[in-house]
């Protein structure tokens, strides 16, 4: 007990005596710890967000081509659509016994950079988004009427554009905001969706008919160009969709349809399962992760080296203090422990400040990711790195203290007590 008190006093005084170098090395350790924490938790959460939930859907059917592009476009509302497929394919799947749910998407317009997706009102009732959450319209709103020029706005898009129930807007052509010509058609917002913390929050949903009838939109479902005219029914043959979102009755259905569309047929591509498609994408970017991790580890090692160097350099000027403590009865072991404890304390303070650095880095990264994709990362979502980073920092700090501690341990008492006056 009194040994502990002695150690605490000695370490505290020593830290204070060398406040400048203590602060600098602790800040360095903080940077290192913060970097490791951020790299690991951002990577893990991003991976989980992009490979995990696809909003309750199991697969997406789209034009022949890249599964990745299909998933990015239909699930994450990024990239352009790989092209359209005929309405008949949607109908075929909607009637397939193995399919529990088929929802058509058409894309190609935006409002202030937020994508407009044409779909059916079935989407809002049919499934939950994410795990338990459904697409819920905020109180005071309702789902659009498929026969009218009405829109339901995702929460993030609503906040950014200022669209609220009763607002009107003109969609613009294309999926990006820049240089797009506004359509004549005016849409009325009938509802704003509750946040789902998924890319769907960035989407403005309108009836699929609205896309077909949008001025200048050409339908090629039949192979021939067709432009819809007001108050005239559009023949089914001309209709087309960008993607069909699918929910299967069983995973076996997914494998069977995968075989059918991707191996046997040539008219469409089925992206299934989402997780595999996105995981392959992350695998391609794996080197970037490894580089980032390597840099983070390197900074940790450098910060441990800085602790070592700063203590090592101060041991010489502390020889007299050490000799005095020894003359008062402190054992060499206590002196050794005090130095190791001091370096661990610097690393500990650094690791704690590292959580602040982590919070800053994480929040900036999360804000950018949310802005660009709608994916929401949670700052304090648990990751093992939150535990092992501080533990590793403190251990490395202790190890870094060993060499200066050996030097302190070996201090000769009598020669350093020689009167200096």
């Amino acid at each position: 007990m009194s040994l502990l008190r002695a150690l605490t006093l000695v370490v505290r005084r020593s830290l204070r005596q060398h406040a400048v170098s203590t602060t600098i090395t602790a800040l360095m350790a903080a940077l290192a710890a913060g970097l490791v924490l951020s790299v690991f938790s951002i990577q893990a959460q991003t991976f989980a967000a992009f490979t995990g939930g696809a909003g309750g859907y199991d697969a997406v059917l789209g034009a022949r081509g890249s599964q990745l592009q299909l998933v990015l476009n239909a699930v994450f509302h990024l990239e352009t659509s790989p092209g359209n497929i005929p309405w008949s394919l949607y109908e075929e799947l909607a009637e397939d016994d193995r399919v529990a749910l088929a929802i058509p998407y058409t894309t190609g317009d935006n409002y202030e950079g937020f994508r407009i997706v044409g779909t059916t009102d079935a989407m809002f009732d049919a499934l939950g988004h994410g795990d338990a959450a459904r697409f819920e319209v905020e109180p005071g709103g309702r789902v659009f009427d498929p026969e009218r020029g009405e829109a339901v706005v995702g929460s993030f898009a609503a906040r950014r554009t200022g669209l609220a129930v009763g607002s009107t807007f003109h969609p613009s052509h294309g999926v990006a905001a820049h240089g797009a010509a506004a359509h004549q058609e005016e849409y009325v917002v009938t509802g704003v969706l509750e946040p789902t913390n998924t890319p769907a929050d960035r989407v403005i949903w309108i009836p699929i008919e609205g896309i077909y009838r949008m001025g200048g939109h050409v339908l090629r479902g039949s192979g021939e160009a067709f432009e819809a005219h007001p108050h005239e029914e559009i023949p089914q043959a001309h209709k087309e969709v960008s993607a069909v979102m699918l929910k299967f009755r069983s995973p076996m259905a997914g494998f069977a349809l995968d075989q059918e569309f991707n191996r046997e047929r040539t008219d469409a591509t089925l992206a299934f399962p989402f997780g595999r498609v996105m995981a392959e994408f992350f695998d391609k970017l794996g080197w970037a992760d490894r580089v980032l991790r390597f840099i983070a580890y390197l900074v940790v090692v450098v910060s441990a080296g800085a602790i070592l160097a700063s203590l090592y350099n101060t041991i010489n000027e502390r020889r007299r203090e050490i000799a005095i403590l020894r003359s008062l009865g402190a054992s060499p072991r206590l002196v050794f422990l005090a130095v190791v404890l001091e370096s661990s304390a610097i690393a500990f303070v650094g690791a704690m400040l590292g959580f602040v650095v982590h919070a800053v880095l994480f929040l900036v990264a999360a804000a950018i990711l949310r802005e660009r994709t709608g994916v929401v990362l949670e700052l304090w979502a648990f990751h093992p790195a939150l535990v092992w980073t501080p533990l590793t920092m403190v251990s490395l700090g202790a190890i870094a203290g060993f060499i200066p501690a050996m030097k302190a341990y070996a201090t000769d008492v009598a020669s350093h007590l020689v009167p200096h006056s």
Partner: protein, 231 residues
């Protein structure tokens, strides 16, 4: 508490040599016999460079002798492991250095507590009481650099007595003070040692200090090495 007749310090055939830069070894301390009884106060007269600091360091266990025996309160330092020696020193010896050797960055009170914490453990009320008795009641939380030389010396004295030692060693304890203050400081040390029944061994070359002691030994008589040097 030790009875007055108990021996606190016993030195026999103590020998310490130093190897010079040329490789030749010089005997610095060669004391055949020396002892102190509990509560006894003895002054040793010695010029600087006569090996008296080395002699005190050997007694305190700060230096190890090449031969001989040092017994402190019944513990033979030369037979102990270094860590045990540290413990005996912390528990039984108080040391007032010529340059005080206060811990910079520690307050006066912390310096005194440091004199306790490796021995019997800290006793803050006692530390405060000691500082009050040496007249530093209003300087408890001052660091050495904020204290005068005389005040620093008194902190050093309080620290030496803080661990309730059986033996207080003082090496030119008043060397940095003027004659009047030196005399006062010496009186203070003697009073405090007597109050705690600690034996006191002072080494000095100052006649003003030596005059106050009943027993004054000549280090040149005690130390055969010095006699050789002198001869």
């Amino acid at each position: 508490m030790a009875a007055p007749t108990t021996t606190v310090l016993e030195v026999r055939s103590l020998l310490k040599r130093f190897r010079g830069p040329s490789g030749a070894s010089t005997t610095v301390v060669d004391v055949p016999a020396f002892s102190l009884a509990a509560g006894e106060q003895v002054a040793i007269r010695g010029a600087s460079g006569s090996g008296k600091t080395t002699f005190l360091n050997l007694i305190a266990g700060i230096s190890t002798p090449d031969a001989g025996v040092v017994e402190i309160a019944g513990h033979d330092l030369t037979a102990l492991r270094p860590s045990q020696r540290d413990r005996v020193r912390a528990r039984h010896v108080g040391y007032v250095f010529q340059t005080f050797n206060l811990l910079q960055g520690y307050t006066a009170l912390e310096n005194v507590l440091a004199g306790m914490m490796f021995g019997r453990g800290t006793d803050e009320p006692f530390a405060r009481d000691l500082l009050c008795r040496v007249g530093l009641a209003d300087r408890l939380h001052h660091q050495p650099k904020a204290l005068s030389v005389g005040q620093q010396q008194r902190v050093a004295v309080a620290r030496a007595l803080a661990g309730r030692p059986d033996l207080v060693l003082a090496d030119e304890p008043t060397g940095n003070l003027d004659a009047r203050r030196a005399s006062e400081a010496m009186a203070m040390i003697r009073t405090l040692c007597r109050a705690q029944d600690a034996a006191l061994l002072v080494v000095s070359h100052s006649p003003a200090i030596l005059r106050r002691f009943d027993t004054v030994l000549d280090f040149a008589q005690l130390n055969r090495a010095a006699r050789e040097v002198a001869a």
